[in-house]
Every structure is written in C-alpha cells, then in structure tokens.
Symmetry: C2
C-alpha cells in the first residue's frame, strides 16, 4: 500500500500521527496549528455529532448560534475566565486590507481600518452568551434556558497535535441558566452522564466520571466535572467536561430574574463541551498497528465487500451476490461499500480497509460462489469465518453488535488493569514510570501538594471519582490525612 505506519511499540506518538494522516482523517494545514479534517475523518465526526445532538435534544436542549467574535471588554467582565482564556487567542485588530503601495500585487493591513475595540476570536462562548442571556431572562418563567451551540473555537496553542490539541477546533458548547443552584448542579451532572453514556455506548470507550481538583478547574467555574479515558500508552485523556458555574457569569453580566415571589435573584449557570479531541481519543483507545479500529456505531462504512476475481465474467457473478447482500444490509440501515475496482488487488484492498477501520469485510471468490459461502473477517479480532451467503444479511447485524461490545470490553479490561492503588510516593513514581495508567492515591486536598507532584512527576489529578469510597488514609506526598483516593496520571 505504501501506507505503512510506525508500530505502537516503536513510537506511540509517531504511530498516532501516521495513522491520522494515512487513514485520511486529518492533516496539518498551511495555517499554523490549524488542521484540515479530511472527508473520512469528518464523516466519523458527523456520526459523533448526530448521536450527541440527539442526546442533547432528548434532554430538552435546543441549538442556537452566537457570534464568532467577543469584544475584548466582555472578557474583562469575568476576571477568572479572562485570566484563563483571553490571553492566548487570535485577536482581530483591523477590518480591511489594501493594496500595498510599495509592493505591487501584495496586500497590506489598512491602518485606517483599525477597530476601536479589538475582537477576540472565541476561545469559548460564556462571555458572549451570558451578555445575551441578560436580555432573554427576566422572570422565573424564562428558566431553565437550555441551549447548545455547535461551533469552531480558537485557542493559540504553541505545541499542537492533530485532533488532540489544535489552535482551531470544532466542538459543541452547552450553556444553561437556572433558577437555583440545585437545578444547575443537576444539569451539570446530567450532561456529564450524557457524555459518559456517549463515550461508552458509541465510542466503546470506558470513562471515569469525576470532579476536577481546584487546580484543574475551568476558569470561571465553581466546580468542574469530567470524564477521563485511558489510552493504550497508559496516558489519560480528558474526553469531556461539564461545569457548574455558580453565579459567576450572572455576576459578571448582571443576569437576574424575578422569582415566583416577585423578588430579584441572580441566575445559576452551567456549561459543558466536547470537541474534535474525541477523534483523538477514539483513535488511541482502540486502534492497532494495522490501522484504525472503529466501533460500528461510529463507522462511516460498516461492511466492505471485496470480490476475488480474475475475469470479468467472475466479477459479474460475484457482483450479483454482493449487490444482493449490500441491498439487504442497507435496508436495515447499514452502510455497505462494494469495492469492485479492477485497478487494485484484493490484498491491497484488505490492507486499505484495515487501515480505515471498517468493522466487517466480506470477501467473495469463485470458489465461494460454488459453495454458496463467503469469508467474513472482523477488524477488531482479525478473525475470519466462512458464512453461508443466504445467512449473511441476518448474521451481520448481530456480528456488528458483538464487535461493538467486544471493543468496549477490551478497552474496559485494559482500563481496569491500568488503575493501580499505591500508598507511598516511591510506589507512585515507580508505577507512573514503569506501568503508567491511573494511579489511585490519597491526597491531602491542597493545591500545593498537587502542584509539587505535577512538578516532580508530570502527573496531574485527573479526577476525584464520583464513586470514590470514603476511606481513611494519608497523602502519598505530604503524609497529611485524607478521606478518599483520587486518580493521578500523565495525560494528553
């Protein structure tokens, strides 16, 4: 194929980049830090979007669209948010180019077209949205306000990696407003649940639901919840966050409502988001040295049929069977590709669809026609079985379900094996260096200890799991008392 990828054992980071590029998922553009999402990659993202969008709507949210630009002064309104985000952003200062008088054919920024107030290309939309909510919310009858936005955002990242960290990325951001802290916290937890369900059901990727420590919290949030996943190289990946904003943005933008008793109260808020970073998580959670392994629920092509033929007469006879199978599967809602190209050999095609992660491959040759069978290969286990032609259309749906479950179970078994409880700092460092994964350890709850550990080991607190048991212990670093274990890891 001329599309070989570095093996994971040789260089995991290079394996990832090779895979993203060679499976036609994305590539770097000529704009620093910005990626091009290629058609095959985008079609996976579309499947993610569709599933998430339905889950958002099923939980009562509607979509809307807010401006790309945020006036500088709006960032100043919410101090913590400004500290956290407004610094490393794309800043629009002018609104016109003109022909360069000194350089024919070239353009230059027109100094006469300087903006009175600079515009920040949104790194997130709390500020612009809450400044709008102020106009939309007067009474308790206007609450809750449950809105989501699908959009592009820009954060000026110095070191970028396709999907995982790019200057521009695509995401959804939910922004909700509520009459009480209780309702807002329920919403924050509900959306964390939606993310976890999406990750596990669609991405086949087990996640741990938890809270961030203060040091890892979203700037402007009172509490940040997250789902954390484990990649094959033992590094953690934050796959989604849901923030309880308290009344911080209501304070910053003076958003109040009249309650049922006719009194003015400040509004409570949440925000929650997942991004094209999920593409990176999906790739790193399941794929192998031969290419992508896609869970069927997110695969753009569920089944590929490859004919094995020498003559066009053979191809014709195979095509007849292949089209029958394809049609029967398409009627059940599956995406089927029949690759009848005569410019490439079957072996080339097999490798190509393995690279692209197509869950099921059906090969049909003249011998198969005689026996009324076909060879059915699974991408996840790389096992093959011979199936009767007239059983295929009913067997494939069950097989795809089995693949979806198997991919999840494999990832779950791995993730489970990668949570290691430790009770000393020596063990903590040893596990991080020799095994990786999540280290489950007692922590004294201070930002100082967290920072010291990060400084010495590059591990951060990924989350305080929602289901962490109350358990008396002492902090592995400071020896001070602790009541529950938290999960540390090196992370993407």
């Amino acid at each position: 194929m001329g599309k070989e990828i570095t093996s994971r054992s040789e260089d995991y980071a290079q394996w990832y980049i090779d895979l993203v590029k060679k499976a036609d998922l994305a590539e770097n553009s000529e704009v620093r830090g910005c990626m091009v999402i290629k058609p095959y990659g985008y079609s996976i993202w579309e499947k993610m979007q569709q599933a998430l969008d339905k889950m958002f709507k099923d939980t009562g949210h509607t979509n809307a669209y807010f401006p790309l630009f945020v006036p500088k002064s709006m960032f100043e309104a919410e101090e913590k948010n400004a500290e956290g985000f407004a610094k490393e952003c794309a800043i629009v200062t002018h609104y016109r180019l003109k022909n360069d008088p000194n350089n024919k054919g070239k353009l230059t920024v027109d100094p006469d077209a300087k903006l009175e107030e600079e515009l920040v290309v949104r790194p997130t939309s709390e500020a612009i949205i809450w400044s709008t909510y102020k106009k939309w919310i007067q009474s308790y009858r206007d609450l809750p306000l449950l809105i989501n936005q699908w959009a592009n955002v820009v954060r000026w990242e110095m070191r970028t990696r396709l999907f995982l960290r790019t200057a521009e990325f695509l995401w959804q951001e939910g922004h909700t407003a509520h009459a009480s802290a209780k309702e807002a916290i329920e919403e924050t937890e509900r959306m964390l649940g939606v993310y976890a369900e999406f990750a596990e059901t669609f991405m086949a990727m087990p996640v741990i639901k938890g809270r961030k420590s203060e040091g890892e919290r979203f700037p402007g949030a009172v509490d940040t919840y997250c789902i954390e996943a484990m990649m094959q190289d033992g590094k953690a990946l934050q796959a989604g966050t849901s923030h309880f904003l308290g009344q911080n943005f209501a304070d910053a933008f003076n958003v109040q409502f009249t309650n049922k008793e006719g009194k003015l109260e400040k509004v409570w808020g949440t925000s929650w988001g997942v991004s094209t970073r999920l593409m990176g998580a999906l790739i790193m959670a399941h794929s192998d040295d031969d290419g992508l392994v896609l869970p069927p629920k997110l695969a753009p092509i569920h089944v590929v049929i490859v004919p094995i033929f020498k003559t066009t007469e053979e191809l014709d006879r195979i095509s007849e069977q292949a089209n029958k199978i394809a049609e029967a599967l398409r009627k059940q809602g599956y995406s089927v590709k029949f690759d009848n190209r005569d410019t490439h050999k079957p072996g080339f095609k097999f490798a190509e669809y393995e690279l692209k992660g197509v869950p099921v491959r059906i090969a049909i040759g003249p011998r198969d026609l005689e026996n009324k069978t076909a060879e059915v290969a699974r991408r996840d286990t790389k096992t093959k079985q011979v199936m009767a032609l007239d059983e295929i259309a009913t067997a494939i749906p069950a097989l795809l379900d089995e693949i979806q479950t198997n991919i999840y179970q494999k990832a779950l078994a791995f993730r489970t094996s990668m949570i290691t409880p430790v009770d000393s700092y020596a063990d903590f460092k040893k596990v991080l260096d020799e095994k990786g994964g999540f280290v489950s350890a007692h922590w004294d709850g201070t930002t100082e200890t967290e920072a010291a550990i990060k400084d010495e080991t590059k591990a951060t607190i990924r989350c305080i799991p929602m289901d962490a048991k109350e358990e008396a212990g002492v902090c592995v670093y400071s020896g001070k008392p602790s009541t529950k274990r938290v999960l540390f890891a090196r992370a993407y």
Copy 2:
C-alpha cells in the same frame, strides 16, 4: 401579545425586522454586524441544512473542514479573488492579550505577540481549499474531488440586516475539482439544479435559474450561475450561486494532474454556496402581517394543539384526545406541540403560533368533545374547518401537503405577475418605480450599459435566464442590437 409587528404596507423593511425579532428568529448581538440566531430561527436553519446535506450526499459529495484563517499571502495568489474579497475582512494581527499595566483589570494587545503574517478570517474558502487540493490531487484517479463544507464566514459589511447581510454568517460552500471543463460545467449546473429544487420543494419559493452578467460575477469565476427569487415587496433576492471557476484557482495554486495519457494538465474547478440569507428569503417570500408563514417541510412544529378549557377537569378530558392525536401524528414523523399552559389564554396562544408560522393549529374545547370534533385552522389561508376527531390523524398529513403546495403556488403566481417585459427605457423606469419586480428587457451585453442603468435606476441584471428565448431586439438603454432578454430588478 405585546408583540405587534409593523404592517407590510406601512413599512416593509420594518415589518421584516419586527418579524425576525418577535418571532424569535434572530437578533443583533453586541458585536457590530454579527447576529445571534435564536433557537427557533436556528431550528429552521437546521431543517434547511438537513435537506441540503442529504441532496449534496445524494449527488456524491462528502463534507470536510478547512481552517477558519487564511494567510494573507494566499489571497494575493488569486488576484481577482483578492480584489473582490480580501479587502473588507476581519484581520487577525496578534495572538495574545496581556494585563494592561496602566489600567488594572483591563486587557491590552500584547505587542510582543504580533504575527509575522496576518491571518484573514475566511470570507470564502477557495484559497485555503485549493492550496490543500494541490496536495490531494496528483492523478486523474483523484478526480473528481467533490467536497462540501458547512462553516461560518466573515465579510466586513458596513450596513447589515438580520439574515440578509451580516458580517458573520453561516453557509455551506462546495468546492469541486475536475479533469475537464465539461465535467466542471456539468457540476456547476447540477448544483444550481439542486439549489433550485431545494428552494422550490422545501422553501416553496419559485426561483429563476440563470447566469450572472460579467459585472455581477463572483471574483475569480469564469461563469456564475444563480437562482433568483422575488420578494413580496417587488425586490429580487439572490438565493444561491454556483460558479464555474475554470482553471483560475488551479493556476493560482498550481494544481495539476496526470491524465490517462500520462501528461500533466491543470485542474478545473467549481464552487457553490447558500447561506443563512435563505432565512431572510424564506421569511420575505411568504409571511404576512400576522407573522411567519412557514412551508411545512421547514417548519420546526407542524401542528400545535390548543385546548379551550375553564376547569382542570375539562383540560384533562381534552388532554386525553390531544395526546392521542399528537401521538398518532408523531408516529408519522410530524412534530406536534400540545400547549396546555394555564398561564395564557387561547387567543394569546393563537396569535403566538400565527407569529411563529406553525402551519396547522387544532383547537379543542368541551363542545368539540361532545361532538367528537375539533377546529382545524390553516396558517397559510387563515381558514378554519371542523374535523371529526377520529379523522384528524389521517387528514393532517394531506392537509400539510396541500399547504406546502398552496404556499408555493401563491408565490409562483405572484412571481409570474411580477415579470414585466418592457421595450423602452421610459417603460423600464416606470415599471421599476410603480410596480417593481423583474423587468424583462433587451440589453446590449456591455458592462458599461449595465453600470449606467444601475447608476440611474438602482436596478441590476439579476440574471440571464437559462431558458431565455433567442429573440431579436434592441437594448432598452443603448438601442444596440440584442439577441435575448435579461432580467433586471432592484435587489436585496
């Protein structure tokens, strides 16, 4: 309701703005020229997107995503495109804000974070996409390349109007590459056909397919095709464009392919787009002084059921019937709202759903229950009929189809009445001033005449219709010979 809108006869422009705001479609943001698309407006846009996206995929296109930013130098590569677009754009010059040392709590642009090359927020993506296609296209086997992008774009407009002309807007832009001029022209025409079909079938808005004159052509295109619609005030609106780019962008970005004979050739291109401007067209094509009139195929809510009750016992009995009807319709794929609020009177609700353009309203009161009937009102004709409760679920789908057809036919009859052939410049001006609409007139084919007419009358050539008859005549302005009539109009 407190939501009265100016009547069309009083002030058409104000009627439009009132309607957009009061029907909760969109509003101006605090960012100059940028709008907020509110949930109800966005849900109509989503319906448009879904229908168009399916049509694009059915014609072989896939979606992808390219960067928001275009380096200044890329604009310089395609001279005409730069002339046409790069001037009035949002220009990113810096990538960081910092705390203002002279002004506590304020942020200022960090002069140390000046970009070496300025970035233009895309006004359209030909440049960035063709610079990418250069890497994707080597051989005739890589062609045709049929890609679409859903994205936001920014053009620094001085005078903006919600949906019709905003600095930031949402759109789709198709960008295709072909091995021959013939194929590229076929694609340009195919997509024009898709747009026309969408406008007529979904938006119930008749359009005229045609070519732009040289003066109205897209900068960088060899030929621009368009669909033109007629608004109720007699002004035309360009609803979509499809461009044959020739080899202009292949030239600018040096995109070549090896043909079947092994020789290098330059690639041929097309681009085509429609935007949130279609929302403006939809509103102005059909709506009336009471609010929106939505064609059922784009209505977020197809049917609203309003109970007429005094006691909760009555409401309970009505709810039972309403829920039955709602369920039966939802099973058939229709969106039904049962508005059982006890905080608002039926009359208020009636006005609200008229404002929002819900195609069918069903009212059920205690009298109706006795008679086993309901009152069914159409938004388009404002007529009412009494229907048997057990017939409603089967009658409504046919009624919605009838409404869709009626809205189209009404708009078509109006559009037909608004095409006036004229043979003298005096008549030309008279028709424009007294009647408006399209003026069908002979034109000598020169940019000078077109410019002079525009200067004197504000009318432009909307298009040279695809189906224009060959007909000898003389230009209404210059008296020079002409072979076909073109359509002039004042336009949005």
